[in-house]
């Protein structure tokens, strides 16, 4: 029960953070698997079942552009930030940093 609650809360915290991480990582072009690896290198492990649909949603929202290309004899879909995506990322980054600062000071205060 306690574990369930912890997992649910952890999932809630991660949900928003993953969007920001994906947008941040897609300042550079990536295809699905390379994006996942790049995130994992930064310590952010995202299941494919979560990551790929998320990337598609972000594209539908106009935050990403995509292009099918052949690479290493495979057909791959490359994603990158659109102009709207860049604008959104900078706004979200600002908000993230501000929030992070507030949460940090709040948590330290209560220790």
């Amino acid at each position: 029960m306690e574990r369930d609650v912890h997992e649910k809360l952890q999932l809630e915290i991660r949900r928003g953070a993953i969007v920001l991480a994906v947008l941040g990582q897609l300042r550079k072009e990536h295809y699905g698997y390379s994006l996942r690896r790049a995130l994992a290198e930064h310590g952010i492990h995202v299941e494919e079942g979560t990551l790929y649909p998320l990337v598609r949603r972000l594209e539908t929202q106009g935050l990403l552009t995509s292009e099918w290309r052949e690479d290493a004899k495979r057909k791959k879909r490359f994603y990158a930030l659109s102009a709207l995506g860049q604008e959104t990322l900078s706004k979200l980054t600002e908000e993230w940093l501000q929030l992070n600062h507030c949460i940090e000071s709040l948590l330290k205060e209560n220790v």
């Binding site: 699905g32 698997y33 494919e48 079942g49 790929y52 057909k75």
Partner: protein, 319 residues
């Protein structure tokens, strides 16, 4: 990569046709590259392919990730759906009772308790189906409720104390009051409840009850309307609590008066004196039990007014 291909065709079964090819090509690239990473660039074995597939999960779960979240009735519409359902239930119950009474007045036709119960259940079922279809359609077409945004604090009516109702109590009250009103006005027949008694035994209320025809109609009608209103609002307020206490005290006074006016039944037919006394005692006990329930309701309402034990977990005391 036979395992990966089989897996992808399974995933494809659950994907929307318009995106199927696109998604499967993307997944194939990813799974193949992962399997190759496991095999250090060599042709992956069956086991390595299975490992990658296991990490990915059930085909239906993977496919569902690409679908937008779907609800029959989503979290935004759901509270309003419940509220409308409650109102529909009360309105339908009122209409049903009114129809039953009108039928009796106009044609003299009365129904049995089970007839009433079945009729009410059917109507409530239809009401809930209609309300559910309306809200499902609204959800499907993405309709949103504007009144959430236009709501202002000024629309509140401040009360000193308000406390949440107990739905089970309220439904019990509404059902018993509705049934009593129908029975009291002879729109609900209970004669068939005594098996084999037709023509042999007649049990009726004595003349003691005659002066109570209108007082009991008014009392139970007021109770029914009060409880229906509170049921829809979902809250007790000062005014409704005072009304509940007032009606309760009136009910207790009537019960006390009845208990002091025997006989309560008029029995004719082949029944021994002992059995007659026994039946009279049963009715007496029933009235005492009903009075007990009424007294309990009055006590709870008074406690709620004072913000006592029965209001503690549900009351919002306002300054």
């Amino acid at each position: 990569m036979l395992w990966i291909k089989s897996y992808l065709s399974e995933v494809g079964r659950y994907l929307p046709p318009s995106q199927r090819e696109d998604i499967l090509t993307e997944l194939e690239t990813s799974l193949s590259e992962q399997a190759q990473d496991l095999a250090n660039g060599q042709a992956p074995t069956d086991k390595q392919q299975q490992q990658v597939i296991d990490r990915m999960g059930h085909p239906m779960k993977v496919a569902s990730g690409y679908d937008k979240p779907r609800y029959l009735i989503g979290p935004e519409l759901f509270p309003t759906y419940l509220q409308v359902l409650k109102i529909a239930f009360v309105v339908v119950a009122l209409i049903q009772c009114a129809i039953q009474l009108s039928f009796f007045v106009l044609t003299g036709w009365s129904t049995s308790f089970f007839g009433l119960f079945k009729g009410l259940l059917d109507t409530l079922l239809w009401a809930s189906v209609v309300v559910t279809i309306i809200f499902f359609t609204a959800e499907y077409f993405g309709e949103r409720l504007n009144f959430y945004d236009s709501w202002r604090a000024s629309s509140l009516k401040p009360h000193r104390t308000s406390s949440a109702i107990s739905y089970s109590d309220m439904i019990t009250n509404l059902v018993s009051e509705g049934v009593f009103l129908l029975w009291w006005n002879s729109a609900l027949s209970v004669q068939n409840w005594i098996p084999g008694a037709d023509g042999v035994l007649t049990v009726a209320l004595s003349d003691t009850w005659a002066p109570l025809f209108w007082p009991l109609n008014l009392l139970f009608g007021a109770w029914f309307l009060l409880h229906a209103g509170v049921f829809i609002r979902g809250l007790w307020h000062n005014a409704t609590l005072w009304l509940e206490i007032g009606l309760g005290l009136a009910g207790l006074a009537i019960a006390a008066w009845l208990l002091l006016q025997p006989p309560l039944l008029q029995i004719s037919g082949a029944l021994s004196e002992h059995a007659t006394i026994h039946l009279e005692r049963i009715v007496f006990t029933v009235i005492v039990v009903v009075a007990g329930f009424i007294a309990w309701d009055v006590y709870v309402a008074a406690k709620r007014l004072r913000g006592g034990r029965y209001a503690e977990d549900s009351a919002i005391a306002l300054p």
